[in-house]
């Protein structure tokens, strides 16, 4: 049935919790209130306070206790209310959760899924709009998942919960209510580490992940009317990374535009660009181009400035067109 991105998150959590009694959910306001975005609405009523509970406003404690719960046999799916708030927990995530399998020579795993709404475009301004994937895509031992569509939300969230290692599951808050799609009722899995060609094309490849996949598809639609054929590759998970799919689309079109909302310098687009440059340089017909947020400390609040920060379909269309005509 058709549902929003947010409904896909909630219904997947519900289905998974019915299936596996080890799954527990906690975070700031996720219990009584059902989450600031309503991602966990109704879950405490259905599964009780022991499995869906409110936590203190202390992200390091949320993740720290979840690590202990995971090692001891539960399947915690904590929520960090806004991705921007994750940094107090970064020591727990990078130094503990991601390393325990390696440190224990494989004896212990940490089957933990941290859900965090990221991204801008909802007038969240400072501390409520950040994209954080690049900080975590650099961390060995961690997986980073960023779905673009309701269908992918369901399959990727179920896979993340089944995974034996820690997963950071990043949901774009702009997508929550604006992106709708068909989602089957039955349970299904989408493997972590597989990209998806969301649109096939021949002139230019756009490589993106998360919300900007949807913006890229709009741009591709607009360019199709101008006889420019754009392929859109949705990475879906950025760690592990589907290098084969990246190289395949780069070799196919010879022109690559990497798009992300996160700020440019040190962003994950650099990694994607570098992989193509290392392994497909002689297939390229133009320099690899990155389109990303500006290197400023935070998303502005003023609507005009927020719009200027964001990577919009119009900006993607202009950049892809320039590349096609190169």
């Amino acid at each position: 049935m058709a549902m929003t991105y947010l409904e896909a998150v909630r219904e997947t959590l519900r289905q998974e919790m019915r299936r596996d009694s080890r799954i527990i959910i906690y975070g700031e306001d996720v219990g009584v209130r059902g989450g600031v975005f309503r991602a966990t609405e109704g879950l405490q009523a259905e599964f009780g306070e022991d499995r869906v509970m409110d936590s203190p406003l202390a992200e390091s404690a949320i993740v720290g206790t979840a690590i202990g719960a995971a090692i001891n046999g539960l399947r915690p799916v904590p929520e960090i209310q806004f991705a921007d708030f994750i940094f107090p927990a970064v020591n727990q995530i990078i130094q503990e959760a991601a390393r325990i399998r390696y440190r224990s020579n494989g004896t212990f795993g940490v089957p933990l899924v941290i859900r965090a709404p990221y991204g801008g475009g909802i007038h969240g301004a400072l501390y409520h709009s950040q994209s954080i994937e690049a900080f975590f895509a650099h961390v060995p031992g961690l997986k980073v998942v960023m779905p673009a569509t309701p269908y992918d939300v369901k399959g990727l969230l179920a896979s993340s919960i089944e995974d034996e290692d820690p997963v950071l599951f990043l949901e774009h808050k702009g997508a929550y209510r604006s992106i709708r799609g068909e989602v089957p009722d039955e349970r299904y899995l989408i493997p972590l580490g597989e990209a998806d060609v969301k649109r096939t094309g021949t002139d230019v490849s756009i490589i993106s992940w998360g919300m900007t996949v949807n913006s890229s598809l709009k741009a591709a639609e607009a360019l199709a009317k101008q006889n420019i054929s754009v392929e859109v590759l949705d990475l879906r998970t950025i760690r592990p990374l589907d290098t084969e799919a990246i190289l395949a689309t780069a070799k196919k079109t010879g022109k690559v535009l990497v798009v992300h909302e996160d700020n440019l310098t040190g962003g994950f687009g650099g990694e994607v660009s570098a992989l193509i440059a290392e392994h497909a340089l002689f297939d390229l017909d133009a320099p690899i181009r990155r389109l990303a947020g500006p290197d400023v400390p935070a998303m502005p609040y003023a609507p005009s400035l927020e719009h200027a920060f964001l990577v919009t379909p119009e900006k993607i269309e202009a950049a892809a067109k320039e590349l096609a005509l190169f």
Partner: protein
């Protein structure tokens, strides 16, 4: 002119900065009475008194949080984080607050803060004492990040960092602290933040690197030159943010071939940004794909395996030879 190793250069620079400006404060774990685990602050408490050179609790978020307040209040704090692996608990203060206050206040509030952080491996240290997390810092707009690889640059960059009105992280390569000596002038001087340095001129290929790996690159380049095989240029970035894209472009345009070398894990590392930048500024000069030589995608290993983890002359030499063949 006196010859000094890097740790001596840092020590005399801190001494000089404390002497010339009463606003300068030096603090961190064991920096006072003990003089720092690496002796960077030896005798400074005796000379300048406990109010200005003092020991802190083992609480990195407290160290950086307090330093932000001091900087906003008119002091010039130079905080030490004992090892880079301990920086994670202070990252929220550094990235979410120190780096943003100027933009948040439309420039009304400045944070002239310096954080010195010994980083990197090669000294047989236990887990969490050998991390290189420059990729995280470079991706946080509002922070500047510098990395000296010589005693001369250690003094010039540290002085420039203290002069800078914004927060600067000075990453100090532990393995180079005592590796070589160099003439370091007694008088005050600065090395401008944002400028790379040609550590060794060459004509056939450019190795772009920073920190500990500059020594590895020079070693490989010398050996290849001595064997009459190839002339390798070594570009020491020195500043990781802002990145000297002009120098990168000039060096790669000159030789047409490049290898990027760093000790942090490859995926999501700063090498990706450098390769992406090369695509953008020197694409048409490239005669071969740019290869990255970096740490493998695992947590930094126990020290018995350290030599397998760290990029060395042999691995770099192989990459140089591959890049010359293309």
């Amino acid at each position: 002119m006196p010859e000094r190793n890097m740790i001596q250069a840092i020590n005399v620079t801190l001494d000089q900065l404390l002497a010339e400006d009463a606003r300068v404060m030096v603090f961190g774990e064991d920096v006072g009475k003990n003089g720092g685990v690496f002796r960077a602050t030896e005798h400074l408490q005796d000379r300048h008194g406990e109010p200005r050179v003092f020991d802190t609790p083992l609480a990195e978020s407290g160290i950086i949080g307090m330093a932000i307040g001091m900087a906003v209040g008119g002091l010039l704090p130079i905080a030490e984080i004992q090892f880079m692996g301990f920086l994670y608990p202070g990252l929220d203060q550094l990235m979410s607050h120190a780096g943003r206050l100027s933009a948040r206040s439309q420039g009304q509030v400045k944070v002239p803060l310096v954080v010195r952080v010994p980083f990197g491996g090669g000294i047989r240290a236990p887990e969490q004492h050998a991390d290189s997390i420059e990729a995280l810092l470079v991706h946080a707009p509002g922070l500047k990040v510098v990395v000296p690889s010589t005693p001369y640059d250690a003094k010039g960059l540290l002085t420039a960092a203290v002069d800078d009105p914004d927060p600067v992280v000075v990453m100090e390569p532990i393995r180079l602290y005592r590796l070589g000596r160099q003439e370091v002038p007694d008088e005050r001087y600065t090395v401008p933040i944002g400028t790379a340095r040609v550590a060794r001129p060459g004509s056939d290929l450019t190795v772009i690197t920073w920190g500990n790996m500059v020594a590895v690159a020079l070693d490989a380049a010398e050996a290849l030159a001595a064997a009459g095989e190839v002339s390798v240029e070594v570009l020491d970035l020195r500043s990781l943010y802002p990145l000297d894209r002009e120098a990168i472009g000039a060096a790669v345009s000159k030789t047409g071939r490049a290898v990027v070398l760093h000790e942090a894990p490859m995926t999501g590392g700063l090498g990706g940004e450098v390769v992406a930048a090369i695509q953008e500024v020197a694409f048409w000069s490239l005669q071969a794909p740019v290869e990255r030589v970096a740490g493998p995608d695992v947590p930094y290993p126990p020290y018995a395996w350290e030599d397998f983890y760290l990029p060395n002359r042999a691995r770099l030499t192989q990459a140089i030879r591959r890049t010359l063949k293309d």
